[in-house]
């Protein structure tokens, strides 16, 4: 039987709002963190990301655009039309465009060259509108076909290595009126903003965390977010100017985070608060 003092200490330590009765040792107050973990577990069944996966698969296979062609010849790094396993090796160097590209950037390339869409126009389109919605749905489906696989971004080509170095410097770049960098929030182990845990992205944060957890469906806004969307909102919260869709800084940061996450299991598309 725990003493009154010990129970009070536990209550204080867990910052619980619930009143703590003097009970047998099996009764523990539920901490806010435990409550949140329970809520997140409840969300896992029935991830609305599946609705976007279904849309994405349809968009991959259906002939569309000025050229009335499907995306089935699109090369995501493992050869034309090979989708399974492609997500966990992106971003990577592509010899046809001579660029390091992430998934969204590569989809823009394919939507332009295969289907005749205007990539720059899509990049300018706000998230969730028009062809931007298509890119997000495609990202959800494509990443789903790598679910359970381990992050394995290639770092063989000089440009891949250079992108990592630029991404690292971008990660630590302090700027804006609040002096934030990515590292301000994601540079240390075991921190959180309000009740949101923050993975340390300078290291491998583990299976299904950080880079290995996006694209994801965000319950709070009912939106499907790709990594591009996630980075966009990060920069907004950092009080930076607006990052171009699939711009070099976004790709470089993805390389940095993805390479650091080497071996981590992908759970994309995941579900988030």
């Amino acid at each position: 039987m725990r003493s009154t003092r010990l129970m009070a200490a536990i209550a204080a330590a867990t910052a619980a709002v619930v009143a703590v009765p003097l009970l047998a040792q099996t009764q523990q107050p539920k901490s806010a963190a435990d409550g949140l973990a329970e809520y997140r577990k409840m969300l896992e069944d029935g991830n609305p990301a599946e609705l976007f996966e279904a849309k994405g698969e349809d968009l991959w296979k259906t002939p569309r655009g000025p050229k009335n062609a499907s995306l089935q010849a699109c090369d995501l790094g493992l050869g034309p039309g090979v989708v399974q396993g492609a997500w966990v090796q992106l971003p990577r160097w592509f010899p046809d465009t001579k660029k390091v590209q992430d998934l969204e950037s590569r989809l823009l390339t394919c939507m332009q060259t295969l289907q005749g869409f205007d990539a720059a126009e899509i990049a300018r389109t706000p998230f969730d509108k028009g062809e931007q919605a298509a890119v997000t749905a495609l990202a959800a489906w494509i990443s789903s076909l790598s679910r359970g696989m381990k992050m394995a971004l290639p770092q063989k080509h000089a440009e891949e290595k250079r992108a990592y170095e630029l991404g690292k410097r971008a990660f630590f770049y302090r700027g804006g009126p609040m002096d934030f960098s990515c590292a301000s929030c994601h540079g240390e182990e075991g921190k959180r903003i309000r009740m949101q845990d923050l993975p340390d992205l300078t290291k491998n944060p583990g299976n299904g965390v950080g880079f290995a957890a996006w694209p994801a469906y965000r319950v709070s806004s009912g939106e499907m977010w790709s990594m591009q969307r996630r980075l966009n909102d990060c920069f907004r919260q950092q009080r930076f100017p607006y990052p171009g869709f699939a711009s070099d800084v976004t790709v470089a940061l993805a390389v940095y985070m993805g390479v650091n996450a080497k071996g981590a299991e992908s759970i994309a598309p995941a579900i988030k608060r």
Binding site: D45, G46, N47, P48, E50, L51, A54, V219, G222
Partner: protein, 103 residues
Amino acid sequence: MPDPMRIRAQAAGDKTTVRVLMSHEMETGLRKDPAGKIIPAWYIQEVTAQLNGKPVLSAEWGPSVSKNPFLQFIVKGAKAGDKIAVTWRDNRGETRTDEATVS
């Protein structure tokens, strides 16, 4: 034509667990757009489910149900190969029916 539902039905002995993910905005009618105008209410009002054509569930929903709602229920007496059909109808009169086979 509204987007399709995702339905999975898994039998375990006498009990079959049916999981349904519906694609719907579920707009409460209380939100305002950036210009300050109310976004009209648009939500599922009725959900029904049938096992081999026989009604097994009927539900009345309202604006408190979230966007892209997830429904899970257990039905007795179903076996592998049976058909589960789910229908929703919203306040605009739009409707969607999808079917799945119990596995």
